[in-house]
């Protein structure tokens, strides 16, 4: 098989799996889960084979043509796609295996695993897409998969609402994305990524409109509201879709269209990302639900990546001559990679905790899990260490790359991102301490137990990746195109960044260790209730949107409906009838009850229409 057919196979395989499950395995959950896991295994294997193979290629075929307009179905397999495909494949496999244990008792297993397969198909399509229209198609499909999986437990109104909210919020972002694609098409005559790279019209509007899509998908301000609610979905789904891959698709898309960026657009993107990073970090501090902490943490880390992308390129000294690298792309993708490993690990770890505690999610009702769930505890600890940037773990390297880029390009952003890093260390240490230490604070925590190997094995694999994921030199050469763009501090800069990074870690984690003790209540809520309440209000985004939907949109809709009923159906239509009635009264004189008179009137009408038709009046 050629490499191209490998790529097509890896795209179509999960589609086939989903189709078989939907058509034949609806009642056979066990077989469906095995089919889905086998598919995921094959995807991971092929993704790695493709990445190791030196060949990089592009190919496409016509999908639809009308006039001069055509949409092509194509594959652009470069180093960037190779990296993303490997992340999707490896994390996807871990999540599939974990799901075997986690969803074992679920009544609708077939629907769940079918949904995972549809997601893999959509995500792979998005990764491989060689043009913006195709990207948009798979972009919408990952949105659909996300909808279906968030709403998996549809009996709960909260899950159903969260699914709907996720899809609609994403559509708001996609409104801009689609307009951006249309503009890009008419401005450049093509939406092919490679052709755009070869030459395009410089525009501020197009990249910003395209960025709207990323704002929705990667849950940046002000469209971040759907992601915390999306935690209503099963936890493995949160790990795969709402932490490691789909929400990162926004960043991946930005890296894909990097060539279209102009400085002004990058500045906007940088500030949106920075604001999201610090906003979400503050939100995370007051959360009680283990998944919600991780959700806000994900928002914050996505903000980090978007900010990194927005920081743009960097001129570096390379063996004596200056060289400009796409440092934003490099740093964002590097952090995307390590984040995918440690955040998927943390989410699956939280899933293991939730599973062990019989679906208890409140961290203040946990405690003492360190001894009861040792594998989960140690792997989760590695995850926490990685995200807060403990030296030599994955997050340390990628976060430092971003901090260095900020330090070099924009000091204000650097300060805010360093503050965010302090907060990250704070809330993650809080989470870790309260969940795992002290005495169990509920029945379910007291009876907590480790799950089977399907639950622990993925944790161990991801923990390993979270340890080694930061050593770029050990990655296959196939990702060189991306990793060569990662900025690296040298000399005094290196020292500044290293010290900053150690400082923020010490301050954040130290504060958390000193302040939070494993207890049944939140220490901040007790000691500073006003601050706690203010933080917990999360700047009232949900309230404002809720007000708009209920009071503005819905009332506007009802008003229009009312007007339609009254004016159109009532006054105009019946009013016309009334008018006709009046005319009829006047015409009663003509109403002589003789057929020939009516025929004359009919002819008169036809002649009037006729004269109109021929343009006499």
């Amino acid at each position: 098989m050629t490499m191209l057919s490998h790529a097509l196979f890896v795209l179509l395989l999960p589609l086939g799996s989903a189709a078989v499950i939907a058509l034949f395995l609806r009642r056979a959950g066990a077989i469906a889960s095995i089919l889905s896991v086998v598919t995921a295994t094959a995807i991971a294997a092929i993704a790695v084979i493709l990445a190791l193979h030196p060949e990089r290629f592009e190919a496409s075929m016509e999908w639809l043509r009308l006039g001069d307009f055509s949409v092509r179905l194509g594959v652009k397999y470069d180093d960037l796609a190779a990296l993303m495909l490997c992340i999707v494949g490896v994390v996807g496999l871990c999540v599939h295996v974990f799901s075997l244990g986690y969803m074992h008792e679920d009544g609708a297993k077939a629907r769940y695993f079918g949904g995972l397969s549809i997601f893999m198909f959509s995500m792979i399509g998005l990764t491989l897409a060689d043009n913006l229209f195709m990207m948009f198609i798979f972009w919408e499909l990952v949105g659909y998969s996300s909808y279906a999986l968030i709403g998996h437990w549809h009996e709960r109104a909260s899950a159903s609402d969260a699914a709907k909210k996720a899809f609609i919020t994403n559509r708001v972002g996609d409104f801009g994305f689609l307009l951006g694609i249309i503009l890009c098409y008419w401005a450049n005559g093509t939406v092919n990524l490679t052709e755009l790279g070869a030459g395009h019209v410089s525009s501020r509007l197009i990249p910003l409109l395209l960025f709207c899509g990323a704002v929705g998908k990667s849950a940046q301000l002000p469209l971040q509201v759907w992601l915390p609610d999306a935690m209503e979905g099963p936890t493995p789904v949160s790990a795969l879709i709402h932490a490691a891959t789909m929400v990162a698709a926004g960043i991946y898309m930005l890296c894909r269209i990097n060539v279209l960026m102009v400085p002004d657009a990058l500045t906007v993107i940088m500030w949106v990302g920075t604001a999201t990073a610090v906003y979400a970090a503050f939100c995370a501090i007051t959360q009680r639900d283990i998944k919600k902490v991780l959700a806000y943490s994900t928002l914050s880390q996505l903000g980090y990546m978007v900010a990194a992308f927005g920081l743009g390129s960097l001129a570096i000294d390379h063996h004596g001559h200056r060289l400009v690298i796409a440092a934003g792309v490099g740093a964002a993708m590097f952090h995307l990679t390590t984040h995918a490993f440690f955040k998927a690990l943390l989410f699956l770890g939280s899933g293991s905790v939730i599973h062990g505690c019989h679906h208890e999610q409140d961290i203040f009702k946990m405690g003492g899990l360190r001894t009861r769930m040792p594998v989960t505890f140690w792997t989760f600890t590695i995850g926490v260490a990685a995200i807060i940037g403990l030296p030599f773990l994955a997050g340390f390297f990628s976060k430092d790359a971003i901090l260095y880029l900020a330090y070099a390009n924009n000091k204000a952003v650097f300060v805010i991102l360093a503050l965010t890093a302090i907060l990250t260390a704070l809330y993650m240490t809080r989470l870790w301490r309260i969940t795992f230490f002290g005495e169990p604070r509920s029945e379910s925590a007291a009876h907590a137990h480790e799950g089977g190997p399907t639950l622990t094995l993925p944790l161990v694999v991801l923990a390993l990746l979270a340890v080694v994921g930061g050593y770029r030199a050990h990655y296959p050469a196939g990702f060189e195109g991306v990793f060569s763009q990662v900025p690296e501090a040298e000399g005094t800069d290196h020292l500044v960044i290293l010290l900053t990074s150690l400082f923020v870690l010490a301050v954040g984690a130290g504060t958390a260790l000193a302040f939070y003790r494993p207890a049944a209540t939140d220490a901040l809520e007790e000691k500073a209730p006003a601050l706690y309440r203010w933080l917990a209000a999360k700047l009232w985004f949900d309230e404002v949107y809720g007000y708009y939907i209920d009071k503005v949109q819905q009332r506007g809709a009802m008003l229009l409906n009312y007007l339609e009923q009254i004016f159109l159906a009532g006054v105009i239509i019946r009013g016309l009838a009334g008018l006709v009635g009046l005319v009829g009264l006047g015409a009663r004189a003509l109403h002589v009850g003789r057929l020939n008179v009516y025929v004359y009137w009919f002819l008169f009408g036809v002649v009037a229409l006729w004269l109109f038709a021929t343009g006499v009046f």
């Binding site: 009308l66 307009l179 008419w186 819905q554 159109l568 021929t614």
Partner: protein, 514 residues
């Protein structure tokens, strides 16, 4: 040119009409049902065969399968000419598939007076196949009327609302649609006379095109003729503000009639615009395009979109959403470009399939909830997961999710629209958010969350079952077609593009005479 050899297009029209006639002549019920399967099945099979063979079939003036039959009215220029070009083919397929699905759904419905119900449906199907297979303008119109009249009767006799409401809906529909049809008829006859085709004694569209290409109509004449066709057809397609018959009529119509009317018959007006009015009257659309676009985007898309959000009745949601989506089709017409018109035809097919699917499922939901009131349902997915899956699929299709045919229609119209009006494009794309809001809200209210108290009582009395196989088969036919076109749009866009490019060429070389 009468040919005695086998003609599948004629068969597709005559088979349902012949079965209807046989039922009318007093066929016993058992045989009526059996023959009805053939009456609904043959047109669908012929449609699929024509789709399969279209590329390979010899083309005559851009038409495949072209045949002409003498009617004895040759002196008036009326001959039965059948054939399919790239615009007609997709709609012919649509009519065949929706006809089959509506027929199968009717056969399992146990409607009262089933024989008459089937007979009227068969007449509708025969008429619809005829509309899209006719190359002759007279028969194009004739078949439309043949299909339209049964729909009035069905709303009046088998309506799903109270008797008064049914007859009000039926009457309103009749008045509006007859008015629309009258206007367009005058327009068509005027076109026939003005173009000089009357002298050539031919209602044949090919001849009309040749005559007009040789001697274009004066611009003012084009403006007036186009206005008659636009507003005549516009009423039939529920152009805002002439749309109020539609939600009312569909709300009252029995499921199979609503499927055929909203799914296929309503497309007659758009089809007339794309196939007849635009190629023959290019100056007309140039004159009226802005008004049409404004009505479509502000009225159909935005106003009706918001109104749809406020509906509490499931059938009204589907009815209003159908009016909204026709706004996109009108926007495509307004662009008068190959891309936009291609989008219109794709959207017509996609919308026809998806709205038929939704009307079908709405009735199936009603059988289980005994109400259309969205505030008295909830949680139906627990007991009817397959029904839920179909409905969610239908909803996502209608809100333009990629993978379903509707996406291609909307996408191509949006792209084309940018060249026509930036503002309209922005507003039209915003409509995509609106349709997601009401679509997902309706699906959630019917199927997800805990059941409402009202529904819990109903469910306790009549425990809801999942979708039965004889309901699933027609739904599957529609869903499969939506997915096939969604994944393989080229199957329709290739013939469509060839025809549209060919039709747009003469207008380019022969501008309207001043």
């Amino acid at each position: 040119m009468t040919s005695l050899t086998f003609d599948p297009l004629l068969l597709a029209i005559m088979a349902p009409l012949a079965v209807a006639l046989a039922i009318a002549l007093g066929l016993p019920k058992r045989w009526s049902v059996r023959l009805a399967y053939a009456g609904f099945g043959v047109p669908a099979l012929v449609a699929l065969w024509a789709w399969w063979q279209y590329g390979a079939a010899p083309s005559d003036h851009g038409y495949a399968f072209l045949r002409t039959y003498s009617t004895g009215l040759d002196g008036l220029g009326i001959r039965l000419t059948l054939g399919l070009n790239g615009i007609a083919l997709p709609l012919f397929v649509l009519a065949g598939l929706v006809g089959l699905a509506a027929g199968l759904y009717a056969l399992q419905s146990a409607a009262e007076k089933l024989k008459i119900y089937l007979m009227l449906l068969l007449v509708m199907v025969g008429g619809l196949m005829g509309v899209f297979a006719s190359v002759d303008v007279f028969f194009f119109y004739f078949f439309h009327e043949l299909a339209l009249i049964p729909s009035f009767l069905m709303v009046g006799l088998w309506g799903t609302r109270g008797a008064t409401e049914n007859s009000y809906a039926a009457m309103k529909m009749t008045i509006y649609l007859t008015l629309g049809a009258m206007l367009s008829l005058v327009g068509l006859i005027a076109l026939y006379v003005q173009s000089g085709a009357a002298g050539a004694h031919s209602f044949n569209l090919i001849t009309l095109r040749e005559i007009i290409a040789a001697r274009p109509l004066a611009e003012t004449v084009q403006h007036h003729l186009f206005a008659l066709l636009l507003f005549g057809f516009g009423i039939l397609v529920s152009l805002w503000p002439l749309h109020t018959w539609a939600p009312l009529g569909y709300g009252a119509a029995p499921s199979s009639a609503a499927m055929l009317h909203a799914g296929v018959l309503k497309k007659f007006g758009l089809y007339g615009l794309v196939q007849i009015a635009l190629p023959l009257l290019p100056a007309g659309i140039a004159h009226w395009g802005s008004l049409l676009g404004a009505l479509a985007v502000f009225g159909n898309v935005l106003v009706v979109g918001f109104i749809t959000m406020a509906q509490r009745d499931l059938k009204q949601v589907v009815g209003y959403s159908s009016v909204m989506h026709m706004g996109y089709a009108f926007l495509g017409v307004a662009t008068a470009s190959v891309l936009g018109l291609g989008g219109v035809v794709l959207l017509m097919v996609a919308h026809g399939l998806s709205v038929a699917l939704l009307f079908l499922l709405t009735t199936s939901i009603h059988h289980r909830t005994h109400t259309f009131d969205l505030t008295a349902m909830g949680g139906l997915a627990r007991t009817a997961p397959v029904l839920a899956a179909f409905f969610v699929a239908g909803t996502f299709a209608s809100i333009g999710l990629p993978g379903f045919a509707n996406f291609w229609g909307e996408l191509t119209i949006f792209v084309a629209l940018w060249k026509f009006s930036h503002l309209f494009t922005v507003l039209a794309v915003a409509g995509v958010v609106i349709s997601a809001v009401y679509g997902l809200r309706a699906a959630a209210r019917v199927f997800f969350g805990p059941p409402t108290e009202a529904f819990a009582i109903v469910a306790a009395e009549h425990p809801p079952t999942d979708l039965r196989w004889n309901e699933r088969v027609p739904a599957l036919i529609l869903l499969a077609a939506l997915l096939f076109i969604g994944f393989w749009p080229r199957s329709l866009s290739a013939p469509l593009n060839a025809t549209l490019v060919q039709l747009s060429a003469p207008a380019a070389v022969a501008p309207a005479a001043k």
